[in-house]
Symmetry: C2
Subunit: 331 residues, 2 copies
């Protein structure tokens, strides 16, 4: 299995990307194709190029975070994003992982890989891990800001496949994120989607509220990409606040009292909660509904997050998610 990785994407590229890729190659026994500036990547990957199965594919252009996705993809055919997506298209890689401009990755994937027949709107699904041992899958995490009911109903089909095969949940419980659990709650989009999900044949448990995310009421949370993104980043912001608290403790390890406190935080599960709120742990979001495996990582990804993203890509490939999505009968 070959995982292509955008070595030029993200705040910490290329150093941290290469670091994560090397760790993943060691730990997961996957072949990694680094995509970016060949000369620089040769220096960074160094001795690992021979020992591990790491290759380098030249990409002379870089798409910046602030570039307009559509324009950038069209104007930069030799960018690491476009080159990486094309490795998947041409069958030279089984998946592509990028921490670069999310919009550009999505657009390049739609343009060059194409949608799976029947899927109207490919969507980003991401794992939320607030309860240890009970991961939750949220879809859409940000690909589609404007959605119609049919799109959300399809997200439920995609999410159900992913939760079953990657998270190992039999007949996952599908919850529709709303402002109340009653069937009549929500805006028009939610109300119409609710009716479609009632008749979907999926294990639809009805509307859920924001409070249910940390409770694990549903295995798959259905929402539009705008709300999904806002919810994930709200959790991330609170996670940052907790990480700062933990760091304050960490800085005082020479003080016995603080050291004990730190131990204690781990004991009582704050460690697990912080871990669950930390995007580095789950690595990235999976773009579902295109003809190929694409993982979008957080722009702030460092080595650990990139390694996790490659692990997620590996699981996605192993489970044959693309093929399973092709086999769904869409209404």
């Amino acid at each position: 299995m070959i995982i292509a990785i955008d070595a030029a994407g993200g705040e910490y590229a290329p150093h941290e990307i290469v670091r994560g890729a090397i760790k993943a190659a060691q730990e997961y026994k996957v072949d990694v194709a680094l995509v970016g500036n060949k000369a620089m990547l040769h220096v960074l990957a160094g001795k690992h190029l021979r020992k591990l199965n790491i290759t380098i594919t030249e990409a002379s252009q870089v798409i910046d975070f602030h570039e307009h996705p559509v324009d950038a993809v069209r104007l930069k055919p030799r960018s690491s994003i476009v080159v990486g997506i094309n490795l998947v298209k041409d069958g030279k890689a089984d998946a592509f992982v990028s921490a670069g401009n999310t919009g550009a990755v999505l657009f390049a994937a739609l343009l060059n890989l194409g949608r799976i027949e029947g899927v109207e709107r490919p969507a980003l699904g991401t794992i939320i891990n607030l309860i240890p041992s009970a991961p939750v899958f949220l879809i859409d995490a940000g690909a589609n800001a404007d959605c119609r009911p049919k799109h959300l109903a399809q997200f439920a089909q995609l999410g159900s496949i992913y939760a079953t095969h990657v998270l190992g949940i039999n007949t996952p419980r599908i919850g529709l994120l709303s402002n109340g659990t009653e069937d009549t709650k929500g805006n028009r989009l939610i109300q119409e989607t609710h009716k479609l999900l009632r008749n979907s044949g999926l294990k639809f448990i009805g509307n859920i509220e924001g409070i249910d995310i940390a409770r694990g009421t549903a295995d798959v949370i259905i929402t539009d990409g705008l709300t999904g993104n806002i919810v994930l980043k709200t959790i991330e912001g609170l996670g940052d606040s907790l990480v700062r608290l933990r760091q304050q403790l960490g800085h005082s390890v020479d003080d016995a009292r603080h050291f004990r406190g730190r131990e204690l935080l781990v004991d009582v599960g704050l460690g697990a909660l912080v871990k669950g709120m930390d995007y580095r742990e789950y690595g990235g979001a999976c773009l579902l509904g295109v003809k190929g495996n694409v993982i979008v990582s957080h722009g702030r990804s460092q080595g650990k997050a990139i390694k996790s993203a490659i692990g997620l890509a590996k699981r996605t490939v192993e489970q044959g998610i693309c093929q399973l999505i092709k086999e769904i009968k869409y209404d």
Copy 2:
């Protein structure tokens, strides 16, 4: 100043409502009008009826949580919600506080108090207190699931008034909640609202992301009622997880190590963060844009939350928010 309080509303009514009302009457020196079953409230308020300025107004009907708001308000004119709203309408109370059926409170307020001229959609605004000493005001917290750009632009006008006069922030920074900070991000609603806010004369700092909520990037966060409600309840859910951790520590006070850890958590600010994520602290959301002061409390409100809500009602009345909203020139 007389604050009317729905003694029949919420999961812990009437006991905890009466307890909170008594505490508020003692602490804030306000007169409280309990609205509910007269005989029962006489027993519960007991000796306090004479010592403090607590009165009782009979309401023989109760609107349940699961009743349809519009039907319930129309069919139950003697419910605590309708009677309480009418005390404000008739000038017999300066504000009404309820932890009951939110939809019913909103509908009764719209029907019996009416909208302030020019305000198209009254909205719920609530204080988020994740950073000690830097409260943030979020509007709409759940009154309007479906919004148009003009509605959101008006929420910014309402929120700006509230943040200035109740939170004491000069020219508050207005942020529009979106899935990215760039002007082009968001769905159609966000993009159109963005343009209106650019020309609003308010201190609009542009789009903000979910991660900005805990960072305090904006003083006033503008969002539709669906997203606002989901965000608040996501925070509440994570707060519940932290409260459970703190309680685990609390239960082990006889163990010296745990006691130290608990002290430590307070030292490093976890106490403040948990407090900030706890709805009991801010007490409720203020309905802005109707001809009267109405505070909607959390359905899970116990004495402490009800006391806080009455405190919030007092500040809202003192600052003359209703009058200030009447004086705004709406586009």
